[in-house]
Amino acid sequence: MKYLEDVSTLKLDPALCTGCGKCSEACPRRVLEPRSGKIAIRDLDACIECGACARNCPANALTVQAGTGCAYAILNGMLRGTAPTCGCQGD
């Protein structure tokens, strides 16, 4: 299933990429794939900005504004003037 198009903040710097592939192993949405010895973005609109790829890149080749895709958390944060705070499983 696809969500909104062209919104993901995911960026990949090929100059820093070593092609280790940990990012595509960590990604739950098949956004990344090996290509010519490095990694490339296969499907940007599938990205949910979970941050798994960026966190697992030892070369810091990936950046993304990771966050929760939860309207309740975002609206809750807006009302309190804080960062999104999620009610999932009650914290």
Partner: protein, 347 residues
């Protein structure tokens, strides 16, 4: 030794004698049974409905499933009861070590997002259970959905253990392990099948109905006093239906409703409900106007909230949806309410 150690109240140190230093806790916390008994199953169902969820925790630590030896495998998981139950029942007849992290009773995905299923907790837990003394293997298998919280290379640097991301679903673990820790592409992809959507939709609906309880009580009193008791069901039906349209029908029909934004999908479902309601009840024109203004907007709002229950919405996307639809939804709901109030006052 069925499920000792699975409850915070019955810690079990049955498998190990204390080490040389008497003050050190034994590394193995307990054993886990691969069979999930009826009590646990019922707990699983109840927690899906929001009952007893936050208190259903397993004591963090290292557990033996079957008779694992020094070669492992070591599977890492969160300490939410349902998570552990799913994991231990997914490996029938197999031997494995389960390293349960302290995620404060929260499932892997949410905990990874918060950072509690994270690098620091994993490193801390590995050291706390002296994992390097219990097993010779230096590989840990983590659930795919824990990746947002864990930096594999930093775990290796701190502990010498290598992190491999296993499948999204515990039930794919036997195949994953049999293939030599290789995941088929489908194992790495998170999807959102109808059954899951429906279950989460039910949860969302129950939550929404809880919020509706107070306004419903108000409407009941007002309509009862002004029009008599027979008018009460008709008073509650419009909003009740809008709630079902937005919180239950929209999740269930998600792929087939128009638009990418959840608000639009919900609004459409709400519109269909309002049309059906109008055809069935033939309301006064002012009531009709109020219904068409407010009801689809209520459905849209509930659908928008469903974004948090999915694993395929991004924060940037939801921000955009909120920027586009939050105010219109609020305005329409308010407008509909005002029209209704005016109608009740004047007519």
């Amino acid at each position: 030794m069925s499920s000792c150690g699975t409850s915070a109240k019955s810690p079990c140190c049955c498998s190990q004698k204390a080490g040389a230093a008497g003050a050190a806790a034994p590394p193995v916390t307990g054993r886990l049974d691969p069979d999930v008994d009826m009590t646990s199953r019922i707990r699983g169902v109840l927690s899906r409905w929001g009952i007893g969820r936050s208190s259903w925790r397993v004591r963090p630590g290292l557990y033996a499933l079957g008779s694992p030896g020094r070669s492992g495998p070591v599977l890492v998981t969160a300490n939410y009861g349902l998570t552990v139950d799913r994991l231990r029942s997914s490996l029938p007849g197999m031997d494995a070590w389960l390293l349960v992290l302290d995620t404060k009773g929260i499932n892997v995905w949410c905990a990874a997002g918060k950072g509690t299923f994270g690098t620091e907790e994993l490193v801390r837990r590995i050291k706390a259970v002296s994992l390097d003394r219990v097993v010779d293997t230096r590989t840990l298998i983590l659930p795919q959905l824990g990746a947002p919280g864990v930096a594999a290379h930093l775990v290796t640097r701190a502990t010498g253990f290598k992190v491999v991301y296993g499948p999204v679903r515990a039930k794919d673990l036997p195949d994953f392990l049999a293939a030599g820790m290789k995941a088929a592409p489908e194992m790495r992809e998170v999807d959102f099948p109808a059954g899951e959507r429906l279950m989460l939709g039910v949860q969302e609906t129950l939550q929404a109905l809880r919020y509706f309880l107070f306004p419903a009580a108000g409407l009941t009193v007002y309509y009862g006093l002004r029009y008599g008791a027979p008018a009460i069901p008709g008073a509650l039906l419009p909003v009740f239906g809008a709630i079902l349209a937005g919180a239950l029908a929209t999740p269930a029909l998600l792929p087939w409703l128009p638009g990418r934004a959840f608000s639009v999908k919900g609004w459409t479902a709400g519109l269909v409900w309002t049309g059906a309601l109008a055809a069935l009840t033939q309301p006064h024109p002012a009531a009709l106007a109020a219904e068409f203004l407010a009801l689809p907007a209520i459905s849209a709002f509930l659908a928008l909230n469903f974004t948090g229950s999915t694993v395929f919405t991004s924060q940037s996307g939801v921000n955009k949806e909120i920027a586009m639809f939050a105010r219109p939804i609020g305005a329409l709901t308010l407008a509909g309410t005002i029209v209704w109030v005016i109608k009740e006052v004047l007519i």
